[in-house]
């Protein structure tokens, strides 16, 4: 473009450079203008609070003796604090159980909805997705009542067969109760992501496979799943981050099962308790950052092991 201009209207070297400089400056300004709104929000609402929390986490405030600078002592304490460690261990165990479960269910449903096309497909898709549209708080409250011995249907159902219903709000079964709630809430959402990825596959591939003699199973296992691997990894990362920061569901169920769910049940709940119930903002910030570290390591490790197939990150 510039070359053309130079050729058609020859100018002195100086003016061209001046013009170029002006254009570059204008482009620069435009660039900043476009980035500006995002940049300001990003700095003000993400970086600044993070920096402040980091700053807070380096201090210690005691009821007797006031605030003092302790550098990394809060982090040393966090990583030796049984509450934080058991909470972290819980969310890791919870991830290992609930994430594969959610992904398998979402994948199975997506494959079925992709393979079958009739009047019910659309309806089923909507119904499977519906739990995601329900706010987590409402979902958790609802499940709390479904688990209830006095209100819930479980007692009646088990009574039909002469058994006693399991109490999903007791310490022994709360884990399963929470896995169920999370799976119910998120499997449909992951299904939609996978379904969209499946829809993006070129149908010519299926035709070619069929001509080579591949059955429906083979098409699903050898063509569909490998081709949507990037989407699978995406939802794995989503769910990993979400599960390690587990907060809403146990916090809500706590008002129904305070005995089974302690205030330090997950690291996020522990940070909340420290900051807002015990007024220990410093240690609460340290726990949040320590949790951030755990999440970062977890996600990084995961991406490292799946690095061959990642194309989206």
């Amino acid at each position: 473009m510039t070359l053309q201009i130079e050729k058609s209207a020859p100018r002195t070297e100086k003016t061209t450079q001046q013009n170029r400089g002006k254009v570059r400056l204008r482009e620069h300004l435009m660039g900043w203008l476009f980035v500006g709104p995002f940049g300001i929000v990003f700095l003000a609402l993400l970086i600044a609070p993070l920096a402040y929390a980091l700053y807070l986490s380096l201090f210690q405030k005691k009821l007797i003796g006031g605030t003092s600078f302790v550098f990394l002592d809060n982090y040393v304490k966090a990583f030796t604090d049984p509450s934080f460690l058991s909470g972290s261990w819980f969310v890791i165990r919870f991830s290992l159980v609930s994430i594969p479960l959610q992904i398998i269910i979402a994948l199975a449903m997506a494959l079925i909805l992709d393979a079958v096309t009739n009047a019910f497909t659309r309806f089923s898709r909507l119904m499977i997705f519906l739990p995601y549209a329900i706010p987590t708080v409402i979902g958790a409250v609802m499940w709390g009542f479904l688990y209830s011995k006095n209100f819930g249907p479980l007692t009646d159902i088990f009574a039909l067969f002469g058994g006693t219903a399991p109490n999903f709000l007791s310490s022994n079964l709360i884990f399963i109760g929470l896995v169920n709630i999370v799976t119910w809430q998120w499997a449909g959402y992951y299904m939609i992501i996978l379904y969209a990825a499946l829809q993006g596959i070129d149908p010519a591939l299926y035709e070619a496979a069929r001509m080579d003699g591949a059955g429906k199973w083979q098409v699903a296992l050898r063509i569909k799943i490998p081709l949507i691997a990037p989407a699978l990894i995406l939802i794995l990362v989503f769910s990993l981050i979400g599960t390690l920061q587990f907060f809403n569901e146990p916090q809500i169920l706590r008002s129904l099962a305070a005995g089974a769910i302690g205030p330090d049940y997950t690291p996020n709940m522990y940070a909340y308790q420290q900051a807002f119930s015990l007024a220990n903002f410093n240690y609460g910030s340290a726990i949040s950052f320590a949790l951030g570290g755990v999440v970062f390591i977890g996600v990084y490790a995961f991406l490292f092991f799946t690095r061959k197939r990642r194309s989206f990150l």
């Binding site: 409402i138 011995k149 008002s255 129904l256 099962a257 005995g259 308790q273 119930s277 903002f281």
Partner: protein, 453 residues
Amino acid sequence: MKKRLLAAAALLATTASLVACSSGEQGGGTTASGGNNASNCTNTIPKKDLPVVTMWGWYPNTQLVVDNFNKLNGEVQVCWTNVGQGSDEYDKFQTAISAGTGAPDVIMVEMDRIPTFQIQKALVDIKPYGYDAVKADYSEGAWKDVSVGGAVYGVPVDGGPMAMIYRKDIFEKYDITPPKTWAEYEQAAQKVKDAGGPLFGDFAANVSALTMALQIQKGAAPFTYDPAQQSTIGIKLNDQGSKDVLDYWTNLARKGLVGTQDQFTPEYISGVINGQYATYISAAWAPGYLTGAGVGKGEDTGKFAVAPLPQWDAANPVQVNWGGSAFSVTSQAKNPELAAKVAYGLYADKESLTDGWTNQIIFPLNLKALNDPAFVDLKVDFFDGQQANKEVYVPAANAYKGVTYSPFGQYYFDAMTKQVSALIEGSDTGAQAADRLQEDVVNYAKEQGFTVQ
């Protein structure tokens, strides 16, 4: 069918409050709406040219109480906001304390929280601002619960003298008279169980304040400290009395005589409605709470009665207290003197007090109400016309001696919940749980800079 409907109503009510709580928690801490900003009051201020004092509180009849105050007072007006009950409010207040801004001028707090906020210098000593004028309106025990050392950090409003609420129909069916001692309580529970009856009571992990009260009844004195020397504290959570009480209830629970359901949950309330529990060990505010949740209405009318709290030693009865609240002035109040006027005056007029006790929202500590024959002789509908105040609650309140609460109440209660929960699910003894609780709380106190004796 009716029972089902009632249960459903209770469920709806609690769902609403659950959702309210949780959404409150989401926004908790960040915004202390209402704080010092007088523009968003829940009530309308009738005398607009007077100075305004902001207030947080959650009595069900606060609207009426505030309106009465504003009507009667020619000096100051109250702007009221309800920021949530109990912990919800405390979390917001705690955040406002840390932030140094956002707290109201006057705040409703339960008495066991006063030392927690006082030690953070979040409350103002209101003794200089008119204590002498109202001193005679409250008993010495009531003043003790709101004082730290010689300083007064709150104006008592309601108390929680404890008693045993029971189901008359169940007691009649299994031929039981109200137990006078805890030994008799256990025998009665065994008798009901042997006859195939319902659970006799409930041992819950989430009501630490109740467990603490029952331990105090057996002689425990969990916390001791000299207010002049607040950095030194005595902690005794594993004395013999505390251990005995934990063992007693654990034993009942393991024998299947009492339930282990968390209280203040729809599950528990529906259990009370369905007659799953023969007794409910609770405080004087319980009938109001239960009525609000749908208990004792319709088919269940008149099924409840109340008897004095069972004793360890019938010859030397000890009365204890659960809950009870006061109005405190916060150190963020712009004009502490004016705020103190509000704290002293709110819920102290006859009309508000009468509304409070006739609807059983509060057990009043104001002697004007406590000594009112209409209050003492009241035939309580919930208890089928029994004169509950005269027979049970007033004597219990009069015999109550007051307690020293801890300056880290939230942590202590959370730690207790943890231990009681482990006790219910596991196989440890109450003594072991008490030892662990002691260790836990002592460690926390040391970490917070206290010298533990």
